[in-house]
């Protein structure tokens, strides 16, 4: 018996969900679900404890700041969802090989686009659902059934985020063409994701008087009648989640309506955009200015380094995915240039972020080599090539830290030494994990890196944490040094141990 008609959009949605389920691991996911389900049940208990009685929600003073705080958190969530849906929209338009099959079938392009949109919305609302649904369920047993409105509000938010992501991507395709749109939308997705963080950090760069005046203004605006007062339209999503019918209707209509409008008015652009990417076309490299004589650079090392840097710099997907880490680094770099001793506290953070960045780049240069057969047949040892590739990953990150290190040398030479020593150690540790446990990866699917080589990722993280801990120890906390050293040795050491077979088999070639 068929529950859905063949070729209908629910049928196509079921097909997409089946593929998504198999992509995330199929039957093995049950193990994760059981573990995650237990934690989720505990969150329910916490939510029930918070909602029980009138202690929390019935308190008027509490409501005065709860609504703006929850509202701001919801808009932060929306920005993250839009970042996510924009990235997924790019993938939906540019990276899905089965689009040829779907668009060549008698299915309407509207159905295909709508199902892609729904899949994007679904992916975006998974995490918010996990975090917020316990409150909806706890509300039911705590006499607050209105909280069940969290369901439609989150669905509407996800649909709105998907609509914004799709519209943004389609508009960029129309304005700039498929290739440029891909780059711009990926960078935009990273910027949107980091916008709240950058905004929250921007106040730190202002003089103290200005910080105080902004704080006073915010406090004033949260009073009744202000922009951010609890009854402000800005916070209607929060009121909708509590079951207030007018905000609930408005939020639902806006979410569903925007999604419907985007699907109906941009599905043709979706088809033309995908065809433009499928047909391909050529992109000329930066050196195409004139017909100049051919000149090659000398030396294997220089050629290897340049090749890696060109591939990193020219790939928009890589730029967008490493951009987020760079964006988090920028406020820290600014704070680092403040001459007070609090800069010392930033060193572990620098070590963690730069190690992660170098680890990602090392994965791209070492594991995600596009032409391993070419490297494997060259008269050079694979180990030598891997070390050069690790250097190609570490040098740009070290260059990022160089200005700060030079500045610190003038104000606190010891801090500069600790920074460069531990950051360098973290980068070498991350590179060693890749060199000693080589697993092939696909640079076009960097996000899957953590799924495909979980062990290496965890070991890289342990090494980074170890070097960050050493930075803490070197700031007069020597007692923790044995623990930090243990972490430092554990990361690459375990990578060496678990990578024996991969090295023996000549992985990557």
């Amino acid at each position: 018996m068929k529950f859905v008609a063949t070729g209908s959009w629910p049928w196509l949605l079921r097909h997409e969900l089946r593929l998504a389920w198999r992509n995330i691991g199929g039957k093995r996911v049950w193990l994760v679900l059981i573990g995650g389900g237990f934690i989720w049940a505990c969150v329910h208990f916490v939510a029930w404890g918070l909602l029980r009685g009138e202690r929390v929600l019935g308190n008027t003073d509490f409501q005065q700041w709860l609504i703006p705080a929850a509202g701001a958190a919801l808009w932060l969530l929306m920005s993250i969802m839009v970042s996510q849906t924009t990235a997924h929209s790019v993938a939906a338009v540019f990276d899905r090989g089965d689009l040829d099959l779907l668009l060549a079938s008698p299915l309407s392009s509207r159905s295909v686009f709508a199902v892609r949109g729904l899949a994007i919305a679904l992916a975006a609302c998974l995490l918010p659902f996990l975090l917020l649904l316990p409150f909806a369920h706890a509300g039911l047993v705590s006499g607050k059934p209105g909280l069940l409105s969290i369901y439609p509000v989150m669905v509407s938010f996800a649909l709105l985020a998907a609509a914004i992501g799709l519209w943004l991507t389609m508009t960029l395709v129309r304005l700039f063409g498929a290739r440029k749109a891909k780059t711009i939308s990926q960078v935009l997705a990273a910027l949107i994701g980091a916008a709240f963080f950058l905004l929250s950090q921007s106040a730190n760069f202002l003089p103290r008087e200005q910080q105080a005046s902004i704080s006073a203004w915010l406090k004033h605006e949260t009073q009744n009648g202000g922009w951010f007062a609890p009854d402000s339209v800005l916070w209607w999503p929060v009121h909708a989640m509590f079951g207030d019918w007018l905000p609930l209707v408005v939020v639902t209509v806006v979410g569903v309506g925007c999604f419907w409008l985007v699907i109906n008015f941009t599905h043709r652009r979706f088809v033309s955009g995908t065809q433009e990417t499928l047909v391909g076309g050529t992109t000329r490299s930066p050196a195409s200015a004139a017909s100049k004589p051919v000149k090659f650079r000398r030396g294997m090392v220089m050629n290897l380094l340049l090749k890696e840097w060109k591939l990193l710099a020219r790939d928009p997907q890589i730029i967008s995915q490493t951009l987020l880490q760079l964006l988090y680094l920028i406020p820290m770099l600014f704070l680092g240039f403040k001459s007070d001793r609090s800069a010392w506290l930033l060193v572990p953070g620098f070590v963690m972020i730069t190690s992660m960045l170098a680890g990602n780049l090392a994965w791209l240069t070492i594991a995600a080599e596009d032409a391993p057969d070419l490297i494997g047949t060259a008269p050079v040892t694979m180990n030598f090539v891997r070390w050069i590739k690790a250097a190609a990953a570490a040098l740009p990150v070290l260059a990022l830290l160089l200005p700060l290190t030079l500045y610190w040398l003038t104000v606190d030479a010891y801090a500069a030494f600790v920074l460069i020593f531990c950051a360098g150690g973290g980068m070498i540790s991350a590179a060693l994990c890749q060199i000693w446990n080589p697993r092939r990866g696909d640079r076009r699917n960097m996000k899957k890196r953590y799924q495909e080589s979980r062990v290496v990722s965890i070991l890289e993280g342990l090494g980074s944490m170890g070097w960050a801990a050493i930075a803490v120890c070197m700031n007069n906390h020597w007692i923790w040094l044995p623990l930090a050293m243990a972490l430092v040795l554990l990361g690459p050491g375990a990578a060496w141990f678990v990578g024996r077979d991969a090295r023996k088999a000549g992985a990557l070639t």
């Binding site: 391909g280 076309g281 050529t282 992109t283 000329r284 490299s285 050196a287 195409s288 004589p293 051919v294 000149k295 090659f296 650079r297 000398r298 030396g299 294997m300 220089m302 050629n303 290897l304 340049l306 090749k307 060109k310 591939l311 020219r314 790939d315 596009d370 032409a371 391993p372 057969d373 070419l374 490297i375 494997g376 047949t377 060259a378 008269p379 050079v380 088999a505 000549g506 070639t509």
Partner: protein, 245 residues
């Protein structure tokens, strides 16, 4: 006795419990155009990948002009080029940058490599595309660029796995002419192909491999004699020999 361009002795490779190559022995003298034929899954590609140094054999040795591919890998690789059936290029490099990188890997003199690259790209009709990223290239263009990469370090032994796949008739003829010319200069070519007409027309000697073993080896006439089908086409000879094995 002349040192063989390629000497394979008792090569064994198995994946899991299945033998991909099973006691394979083959000797190819310098200056020969040798075709390696076999049905799908016969072990052709595995053999070539071991010869190219991309896979390690479980048992057996491979020598290229007398240099063992394990103990003297550096020397053996320096005089060998391998072109896989689906060569992977760097999508964000243009042809000139790709060839510059390959020349760097083989430590070829930069000035000589630049001149060689220009000649190769012009000959393979990729000169007009020299500043375009290869991600937009058709399969045939990618195949031609990979071939240019294989030739830029002037190898003595050229190993090609299905080299004509994806090439248009014009490009395929150019490649075939180039291979004949390459052999005429005293170099050696080992090629696998499913297009038997190519082996029939170009190869001086043909080896037929099945279930990881050489089941027949010789000139076309010798293979006809082995299969007992005088005057038959290579296709018939091939079918007879592989069905009998």
């Amino acid at each position: 006795m002349e040192t063989p361009a390629l000497a394979i002795n008792g090569l064994v490779k198995h994946f899991g419990g299945k033998y991909a190559v099973n006691s394979l022995t083959l000797s190819i003298p310098p200056g020969q155009f040798h075709a390696l034929l076999g049905p799908n899954g016969a072990g052709k590609t595995t053999t070539l990948r071991i010869v190219a140094g991309l896979l390690k054999a479980d048992v057996g040795t491979v020598g290229i002009f007398g240099h063992d591919t394990v103990t003297e890998a550096d020397v053996a690789k320096r005089i060998t080029a391998f072109l896989p059936d689906d060569p992977m290029l760097y999508g964000k490099l243009n042809p000139l940058e790709y060839l510059e990188f390959v020349a760097g890997l083989w430590s070829i003199d930069a000035t000589r490599a630049a001149a060689q690259a220009e000649d190769l790209l012009k000959w393979l009709e990729l000169w007009e595309n020299r500043y375009e990223y290869t991600e937009g290239f058709s399969r045939g263009m990618r195949q031609k660029l990979a071939l240019a990469g294989a030739l830029i370090h002037t190898p003595k032994l050229l190993i090609l796995d299905e080299p004509l796949t994806g090439l248009d008739a014009h490009a395929a003829k150019a490649v075939k002419d180039m291979l004949v010319d390459f052999v005429a200069k005293g170099n050696t070519v080992v090629l696998t192909t499913h297009i038997l007409e190519i082996a029939e027309r170009l190869a001086e000697r043909i080896s037929i491999i099945q279930k990881g073993k050489i089941v027949a080896d010789g000139t076309l006439e010798e293979l006809r004699a082995q299969s007992g089908s005088a005057g038959a086409s290579l296709e018939d000879v091939f079918l007879n020999l592989t069905e009998a094995a």
